[in-house]
């Protein structure tokens, strides 16, 4: 418990374009900057005028009622959907015209709400897919077992085990990913995303289906990951203990629009947010 760095430890500082980032990141370029991001599906604005800035080592939360468009935002950031309006900058680089693969190479990695592991492959192989672009040897070196193959495979194996050790999963390396228990599958998704060496990690409901104890562990691990890899994390989560416990900046989405931004305390006291979650209170 004590090692969890609570949000109150971090001082948030406003930056231009109506966003706030942790004080420690203020001198560094933001890892993600979305400006006026929006997408329409058949005339319906699923996300509209979405603006966010995330600091270099910030843990940020994206919350909102069901159907608010949170996963759509993730899909826009990772270029699964091409936005109808607005831009996304990753590490200051415009992602216009990029596809999902290029967005990943630019430094953005994600997990999925409905787990998407490579079920017929082992845990280690799943992580190795994440390491794919950091290991360089071609098809023919692979087939004809050139020296590069042996060297890189060994390196990849060590790296994979190293990453798995974050969640103490080294012993499961040879287990088929599809046969893992639910919580372990979620953790493996995080490891696999980390393996792509991102500067921003998007977690889509990482605590879904976990018990309070597992959630507590996950919170510690998210902070551990941030500290160890010096990356930013943006997470979607319905578990308010997790969000309020570790997120430094929080962004609330409703009907595809941002209705509030701020620190945990600010969000908790924001009447607009309370209304979005609980409905309008009858006037007394």
């Amino acid at each position: 418990m004590t090692q969890i760095k609570r949000k109150s430890d971090t001082k948030m500082v406003p930056v231009p374009s109506m966003a706030i980032v942790p004080e420690r990141d203020i001198d560094k370029a933001p890892v993600l900057e979305a400006r006026h991001l929006g997408i329409e599906f058949g005339g319906l604005k699923a996300v509209d005028d979405f603006n966010i800035i995330i600091g270099k080592t910030e843990i940020a939360g994206l919350i909102g009622p069901n159907g608010a468009g949170k996963t759509t935002v993730f899909n826009l950031l990772t270029k699964v959907y091409q936005p109808t309006t607005g831009t996304v900058l990753i590490n200051g680089k415009d992602t216009h015209g990029m596809n999902t693969v290029q967005a990943n190479k630019a430094g953005i990695a994600r997990t999925f709400q409905n787990i998407r592991l490579f079920n017929n492959m082992t845990v280690e192989e799943n992580v190795r897919i994440g390491l794919h672009n950091q290991v360089k040897y071609g098809m023919f070196s692979g087939i004809f077992r050139a020296p590069a193959y042996w060297k890189q495979e060994k390196k990849q194996h060590e790296q994979a085990l190293d990453l798995l050790s974050i969640f103490d999963m080294q012993d499961m390396a040879d287990v088929k990913a599809g046969s893992l228990p639910y919580g372990a599958q979620r953790r493996l998704e995080i490891v696999r995303a980390l393996a792509t060496n991102p500067s921003l990690l998007l977690l889509d409901e990482p605590a879904a289906g976990m018990n309070p104890h597992e959630t507590e562990e996950l919170m510690e691990n998210i902070i551990k990951i941030r500290d160890k890899f010096q990356i930013a994390v943006l997470l979607i989560e319905h578990d308010m203990n997790l969000v309020m416990g570790i997120c430094e900046g929080i962004c609330v989405l409703n009907y595809g629009r941002i209705i509030a931004k701020g620190t945990a305390e600010e969000i908790q006291q924001n009447p607009v947010v309370i209304e979005a979650y609980l409905g309008k209170q009858k006037e007394a």
């Binding site: 699964v80 596809n99 990943n104 490579f118 079920n119 492959m121 897919i129 794919h132 692979g142 087939i143």
Partner: protein, 352 residues
């Protein structure tokens, strides 16, 4: 050793092929008295090798890459005719009579041309998904067969002439449109077939256990996740598809040079389906299974000549039953219930 399980499995596959080859050679050479092979079976040795390579290469597309291809025989066809032309041209142009070298060069040629066809077909096809991809590969298989029916090749000394819908070419016709290739110098041998199988296994198994192979399987398991991990989907789908086409082309050359007459109708849709049956019965994604299924199902009709009328009917029923047994929730539940008993029984047996 970390990879020991896979390594052992691969070793077993190679071992199986090598032992089977040695046994066949012993039977052919009649080294051991009484252990010999019937003439009709001897005639099946090269086709068996061809079908094993076809099945293993199709398994790369269907099982490893997860794309149903119904036009695999098209690549075999391209390989067969380009191989035949190459073999004849080598004799005319270089007076090269050494059959082994000619066969190897013919197989390489077959592989290259089938690979080119694979690239040309793969570019449009691999953008599609699922059933659409299947039907378009079928369409391409038919287009290849149609085009082959219109192609004429002739050799005038060392010069090669090509005609489209035009049989009036100078010199001696090697490939004669719908009549196909006639008077082919049959240089295929069982030994070379065996070598081709080993080569195919080497390529496919090593590919699977490499960075590229893992990317191919990741796309099969979950395309969207693979993309978000930075895997270039088109590149790796293409890699599997073209590798598969090259191997099928090499098998095609071996097949084409095994008969004195080869027509394009031999590489119809039926042949594609036959190879698919091998893959399905051997277990989708299971390389060793493909080898066994291709061997057994090529020999079986020879053994069961009396039932030849029912052969395709039985194939059809087996195909349906296997698919139902492995995919229907009702039947898989039943199988699951039987299986653990078997396993525990085996363990008890070991203990005693």
């Amino acid at each position: 050793m970390k990879m020991s399980k896979k390594f052992r499995s691969n070793l077993l596959t190679y071992g199986l092929v090598i032992v089977a080859f040695i046994l066949c050679q012993l039977a052919v050479e009649k080294v051991i008295p009484g252990f010999k092979m019937s003439r009709s079976l001897k005639g099946q040795l090269v086709p068996i090798c061809v079908y094993i390579v076809m099945a293993v290469s199709l398994n790369l597309t269907v099982g490893i890459s997860g794309e149903l291809s119904l036009g695999h025989a098209g690549f075999m066809s391209v390989g067969a005719f380009s191989g035949i032309v190459m073999s004849a041209w080598l004799v005319n142009a270089f007076q090269l009579e050494n059959e082994t070298i000619r066969l190897i060069l013919a197989m390489v040629t077959g592989g290259v041309f089938a690979g080119v066809a694979g690239v040309l077909i793969g570019i449009p096809v691999l953008r599609l998904r699922g059933d659409y991809l299947a039907i378009v590969t079928l369409a391409f298989g038919e287009i290849i067969r149609n085009v082959m029916n219109c192609l004429y090749f002739s050799l005038d000394g060392p010069t090669l002439h090509v005609g489209f819908n035009n049989p009036n070419l100078p010199g001696k016709l090697v490939v004669n449109g719908p009549t196909g290739a006639t008077g082919v110098d049959t240089i295929s041998t069982f030994v070379m077939g065996f070598v081709l199988i080993l080569f195919t296994l080497f390529v496919v198994l090593n590919l699977i256990n490499s960075r590229s192979g893992r990317a191919i399987m990741a796309i099969r398991d979950n395309r969207i996740a693979a993309e978000s991990m930075g895997i270039n989907v088109t590149k790796y789908k293409m890699m599997a598809f073209v590798t598969s086409a090259v191997l099928a082309g090499m098998a095609g050359a071996l097949y084409g040079l095994n008969y004195s007459t080869v027509t394009a109708t031999k590489f119809r849709f039926d042949t594609s389906i036959l190879v698919l049956v091998f893959v399905v019965l051997g277990g989708i994604g299971n390389i060793r299974g493909s080898i066994i299924a291709a061997t057994v199902l090529t020999i079986l009709p020879e053994v069961l000549r009396a039932f030849s009328d029912y052969r395709m009917l039985v194939y059809a029923i087996v195909l349906i039953v296997v698919m139902l047994a492995t995919n229907s929730p009702l039947l898989t539940g039943l199988v699951e219930r039987i299986r653990p008993k078997k396993k525990t029984a085996a363990k008890e047996g070991e203990a005693q």
